[in-house]
């Protein structure tokens, strides 16, 4: 069959009925994906999951997978069943699609492929906290085209999925609910650093948000700088949603105790004179 015939057949198969059916199917895929997202999101907040050794991130992992399955299923059904394309027509359609991608859809195509890669390789999942494209936040959704994350100041950022090809992605929890939080306190270099370390250690391990286990140890470090000493605590927060309350809780209680113990914040730009 000549290419001209194939094109005319393809064009002929597009009529009101097939267009409406296709639209209806796309709407159906959208509805199915929205409903499954809603149900799984609600299910993921079910507290008993933790008792069974699961967590909300493991449940939410299924959401993008279902979303892609619904949309690709719909596209396949539209092409194969509604337009009833034969194999040579499919090849022609692929050619047209290829030309489309070449002319202007390449970014969209790269985003969809990026989305597939994210699902298969899982550099991040819904619920993870990541730094991507210069933004830090919790992943709220992995869509066909973009990944949405919410920053700590509640800004929704959409990052194209294709950026996983070019930019590094830093994932702080990698699918777990616990995440390591680093808390730095800066003190006057003349203060007792050992006492400060001990206070910070106790502020850390007594926090209601801490997670302590073999896999989740804590550490207290000290570093000397010309104008101050940095006391650093590293500990895992129970649930990454409590990252900032954890940091605040430890910092607030440590400073309260520092003041009682006479440990002061640094005075900027003052270097202790060396006594001869």
């Amino acid at each position: 069959m000549a290419d001209g015939d194939l094109v005319s057949e393809l064009v002929q198969s597009i009529n009101a009925s097939t267009v409406l059916s296709s639209l209806a199917l796309i709407l159906l895929a959208y509805a199915a994906s929205s409903i499954s997202t809603y149900v799984l999101t609600r299910l993921s907040e079910w507290r008993l999951l933790n008792v069974f050794g699961l967590n909300r991130i493991t449940v939410k992992m299924v959401i993008p997978l279902l979303k892609f399955a619904f949309y690709f299923g719909a596209i396949y059904y539209i092409l194969a069943e509604i337009f009833n394309l034969a194999s040579d027509q499919l090849i022609l359609f692929s050619g047209l699609l290829g030309a489309g991608i070449g002319f202007g859809l390449k970014d969209l195509f790269a985003d969809v492929v990026g989305g597939l890669l994210v699902i298969l390789e899982r550099p991040y999942q819904i619920g993870d906290k990541i730094t991507m494209g210069g933004y830090y936040g919790e992943i709220k959704d992995i869509g066909l085209r973009s990944t949405r994350l919410v920053t700590p100041d509640d800004t929704l950022v959409s990052v194209p999925n294709s950026s996983v090809f070019q930019n590094p992605v830093a994932n702080v929890n990698a699918g777990n609910l616990e995440m390591l939080v680093v808390i730095d306190l800066f003190i006057d270099p003349r203060c007792d650093a050992t006492l400060a370390m001990n206070i910070l250690k106790e502020a850390l391990v007594t926090s209601k948000y801490i997670r302590l286990s073999e896999k989740h140890p804590y550490v207290i470090l000290m570093k000397d700088y010309p104008f101050y000493k940095r006391v650093r605590a590293k500990g895992y927060v129970n649930d990454l949603r409590y990252e900032f309350p954890f940091e605040t809780d430890v910092t607030r209680r440590a400073w309260k105790e520092f003041r009682l113990a006479g440990i002061r914040p640094p005075r900027m730009g003052v270097i202790e004179e060396q006594k001869q």
């Binding site: 933790n50 008792v51 106790e202 209601k208 997670r211």
Partner: protein, 354 residues
């Protein structure tokens, strides 16, 4: 060598003890070990109400006059404790060591001092709350100081039966006429789903499964002949149910028994033993208070305020917890309701606090 005894407050202990005979034997062997180099400090770890203090009492009777016995039932604050510890003989028994710390900045000083004392030549036999131990072992080298750790086993139905029978004042009559009727292993209850988007609440029927009933039903289907022989006495069924619902914890079993079995005369049927169920929905701060109570077992409101460092909320939280029947406030002290122990534990697991 006879040593001074520091009895801060001794509680009543039943003279009989059930289910811990093997542990008693191994502790006796450890105490009698003539080579002091081979003697290791012992930590007995168990959840609340599991008979830890009763076992401790038995051990102290076993040791006779050799030991220094220290029973703690409040957070340690007085110097007397350290004086006694210093003057103690070569065998020191300390009950409720979790009362040596509080989860706040500066709250580990006593425990630290105690661990230093326990690292001496003396043999320390100590008891610990399991939840406190699980927390403290990541903060202090507890496992190095107490190389021998004994976790109290769960009691079986037969042991619980002996325990209940030993303390029961009246003659118990079990309903032998009860027909082996089918148990309702599932019932429907309502579950509300808040549809925020549509500003409506949807009530869905949710099946609640009685695992005991389900287990019996499966046994009936899978091993019909065995089930026939297992058509044990009503008495056995009653105590099996008690064991399942208390998870083998003697204190919890006793509380369930006292709550369900009437004191007056009357026959006892398996259905009388009802699983304690609590609907727990707390804020994270309230859950943390409950966790502290689970670790400390007994605490005053002031001590709790001192730990959580937000006095205004503690009174309100405690009142709310009291209303849910999860805790008991008596003589100025808060403690857990024994029958609520396992509901509290699974709730705290679900919010990742234990």
């Amino acid at each position: 060598m006879a040593s001074p005894q520091c009895i801060i407050k001794e509680t009543d202990h039943s003279s009989e003890i059930f289910g811990f005979e093997e542990i008693l034997n191994s502790i006796e062997a450890a105490i009698e070990e003539p080579d002091s180099d081979r003697r290791s400090n012992i930590a007995i770890i168990a959840e609340p109400f599991s008979g830890r203090s009763e076992l401790f009492h038995k051990i102290s009777l076993m040791c006779g006059e050799r030991e220094t016995k220290i029973l703690l039932n409040r957070l340690v604050n007085d110097e007397n404790f350290w004086n006694v510890l210093e003057k103690s003989g070569d065998l020191v028994l300390v009950d409720n060591c979790h009362l040596l710390y509080s989860q706040k900045i500066g709250g580990f000083e006593r425990l630290d001092r105690f661990l230093n004392a326990a690292s001496s030549e003396k043999l320390f036999i100590t008891t610990w709350n399991q939840f406190s131990w699980n927390y403290l072992r990541f903060v202090f080298p507890l496992e190095r100081v107490f190389p021998v750790r004994i976790e109290l086993p769960k009691l079986g139905a037969a042991e619980l039966e002996k325990m209940i029978m030993a303390t029961c004042e009246r003659e118990l009559t079990f309903d032998e006429e009860v027909a082996p009727k089918k148990k309702e292993w599932m019932e429907l209850s309502e579950f509300s789903v808040d549809l925020g988007l549509f500003k409506r609440t949807l009530k869905l029927p949710v099946p609640r499964i009685d695992y005991f009933g389900l287990e019996s039903r499966i046994k009936e289907k899978v091993w019909p002949s065995k089930q026939k022989t297992e058509e044990a006495s009503v008495e056995d069924k009653v105590f099996q149910r008690l064991r399942d619902y208390s998870d083998g914890n003697p204190g919890v079993a006793k509380a369930i028994w006292n709550k369900n079995v009437p004191e007056a005369e009357g026959v006892i049927k398996p259905e009388v033993i009802i699983k304690p169920q609590y609907k727990i929905d707390l804020s994270y701060d309230q859950a943390f208070l409950l966790y502290l109570l689970l670790c400390m077992e007994t605490v005053s409101i002031d001590e709790l305020k001192d730990i959580v460092d937000s006095s205004s909320d503690v009174n309100r939280f405690v009142r709310e917890l009291e209303r849910t029947d999860l805790i008991l406030f008596e003589n100025g002290l808060l403690s857990l309701m024994p029958e609520a122990l396992h509901s509290i534990e699974s709730y705290l697991k679900s919010v990742r606090l234990v």
